[in-house]
Amino acid sequence: MSRIITIIVGHFKSWYRSKSNIFWTIAFPLLLIVLFGAIFGNGSTKFDLYLQNQDLTGNVPTPLSQGYVNVLNQTGAFNLHIVAAEQPDPLTYVKNDARDHNRGQRLLVIPLGFNATIMSGKNATVQLYMDQSDQASASLAGIVHSVTVSYAAAIANAPDHLVVQQVGIVTRNIRYIDFFIPGVIGMTLLTTGVFGAVNTNGRYRELKIIKKLATTPLSKIEWILGMVGYQMILATISLIVILFFGYAIFGVTATIDIYTVGLVVAAALLFPGIGMVLANFVKEAESADAAANAITFPMMFLAGTFWPLDSLPEIMKIIANFMPLTYVNAGLREALIYSEPAQALTNTVIALGFAAFFIVLGSILMNWKEE
């Protein structure tokens, strides 16, 4: 055990004494967060609003309901996303779709009979589902109200014929930055893990440090455990620092649960495992570095770090399914931000499976003795 601790401490000292290490593991992710947060953080100036028009005859919207939709559209205040009338559970649909596209969860429902009720001179009601804690809620509800009142006045000369019934829902209004922070954590775990292992296994081999250690009582398994232990500490530091800055700068609130821990453990095994496999296939440290770049970069972009997988072309989505980072990113997002334990569990299990595979393969491939 003391040998493993010595190795962890040795790696850790080497890490914090290197300015470039600190940059890549801490400063760079923070820089990305600030940059991407500033560029995409506030999204468009229009409000996203999901709209379901249930008032159809045949498949055609009734004239008054269509007129209402047109008026809403003409305000220019909304990005209207139409939810099909036959969608039985529009709220759940909106919740998922809004999350996948980083939109606010707001739904306006025009009920069946809308046209007929107004024509009969009675008061018709539309439902506006939104979260009161949604920062946009007040202004959005205000616009919907005034549009509705003017529409009622215009069609029936009776402003109170149309009522907006506001229904509160509890949502996490996911902004881009909320989506992005877990991705940055995943990306940091990926790069520190892969490059860390390439460095400690490829470069240390070139420097004959591994050869020297192999002549001492240290065993290969102790060496690997030391490296993994160090990666876990580093992963924890990255996670804490990024979450702290995400909260301090953008108010991103995260929940750390058992799945977060599971995913950090998985990442600390998985990515060094990939690095070890690389370092053993590509013997020269510099080429191994290049190979690590070749593997981490596509993975970073395709595995849902910067943008949702849904926005990728179909073929890329299929490729992303084979990338371990996809599951780490998705798991971290579900655990930290969306608080969806069931989905986090699935992703944690898949990530742990990948982790077991790569760390075992890396360990088998690693030559401790010479051939």
């Binding site: 040795g10 009582p217 240290l218 003795k369 051939e371």
Partner: protein, 319 residues
């Protein structure tokens, strides 16, 4: 400690290293071919040969880093091919691999303690730092040291478990002459302390200066063994009288009866000497215009031994 016959108590035998008909093949390539030698306690043993001769392969078999394909080798009485014995060997040997670097961003002291922590018992880092003369650099990071100082850290690291035998693989390769001398002085100190040292080198002068026993290896085979003096006496050839800067002209001015004299680079004349001839030759030279030239007697070196045995000289680049 096991009772099996292959694991005698350390120190029970003076034979620290026993190598018997050892071979290592890689496919058709024979790196080490049926070599045998012994290393006795307290000796500095130099394994001398050009690059690619099989030195490192042999030393790495003794360090349990490679498995032999034939023959037997024992270190401190333990069999290098047996797994259980290998663990015992690792506890008791000190190793400086060829081209070894310690960890860049750890200080000298931290590096010594890092490698020391791999053993149950380790020597005091400060004492080792004193031994290798690095007191001023104790808290300097390894990467900031010069090549010679780095190598001294490597030496300290190789001694950290107070080993019964130290394997130093090409410890001065790539160092400037001054740094080489510094490393030599550390090895001399080890010798004075009674440490057993197994040294591989392709520097003839290094082997001659440091070693009690030298084995010359070429193409995987040992071609001669003995003390440096024994090797030189047996294979070094004659002493040579050198007349400096005599040139072509000087050759003509030589007294008669020195037919084997030859002109060497830079215009020196070399005259092979038979025993007892020196006084006569010097007296006859006094009668010639060469009497005011600088004259020296050169003793053959291990370089000459290697040349006479193989027909080649060992160069830094290998041969």
């Amino acid at each position: 400690m096991s009772d099996s016959p292959s694991t005698p108590l350390p120190g029970q035998s003076d034979k620290v290293v026993q190598v018997d008909k050892l071979s290592k093949k890689y496919g058709d390539n024979i790196a080490v071919n049926d070599i045998s030698f012994n290393l006795t306690k307290g000796e500095v043993f130099a394994f001398l040969g050009p690059n690619g001769a099989g030195k490192t392969t042999t030393v790495e078999i003794l360090e349990c880093l490679r498995n032999p394909t034939g023959g037997q080798a024992r270190v401190l009485g333990y069999d290098v091919s047996k797994r259980s014995d290998q663990a015992e060997i690792r506890k008791r040997i000190g190793v400086l691999p060829q081209d070894f670097n310690a960890i860049d961003r750890l200080t000298v002291r931290e590096n010594i303690n890092y490698f020391g922590a791999m053993f149950k018992h380790q020597l005091d880092a400060d004492k080792l730092i004193e031994l290798v003369d690095l007191k001023d650099k104790r808290d300097e990071q390894f990467k900031k040291l010069s090549g010679g100082l780095k190598q001294r850290v490597g030496l300290a690291v190789s001694l950290v478990n107070d080993p019964d035998v130290v394997f130093l693989d090409e410890p001065t390769t790539g160092l400037d002459p001054r740094a080489r001398r510094d490393v030599w002085s550390v090895i001399e100190r080890l010798k004075k302390e009674g440490k057993t040292v197994f040294l591989t080198t392709h520097y003839m002068d290094e082997a001659e200066y440091l070693a009690d026993i030298v084995s010359i290896i070429d193409h995987g085979q040992i071609i001669a063994s003995g003390t440096p003096d024994q090797l030189i006496d047996a294979h070094g050839g004659k002493k040579t009288l050198i007349i400096r800067d005599a040139g072509e002209e000087g050759l003509k001015q030589l007294p008669p009866g020195l037919p084997k004299a030859e002109l060497r680079n830079a215009g020196d004349i070399a005259v092979p000497l038979n025993n007892g001839e020196l006084t006569n030759i010097l007296m006859s030279l006094g009668q010639t215009p060469l009497h005011d030239k600088e004259i020296e007697v050169r003793r053959p070196t291990l370089d000459d031994v290697f040349l006479n045995l193989t027909g080649r000289r060992v160069s830094e680049e290998g041969n």
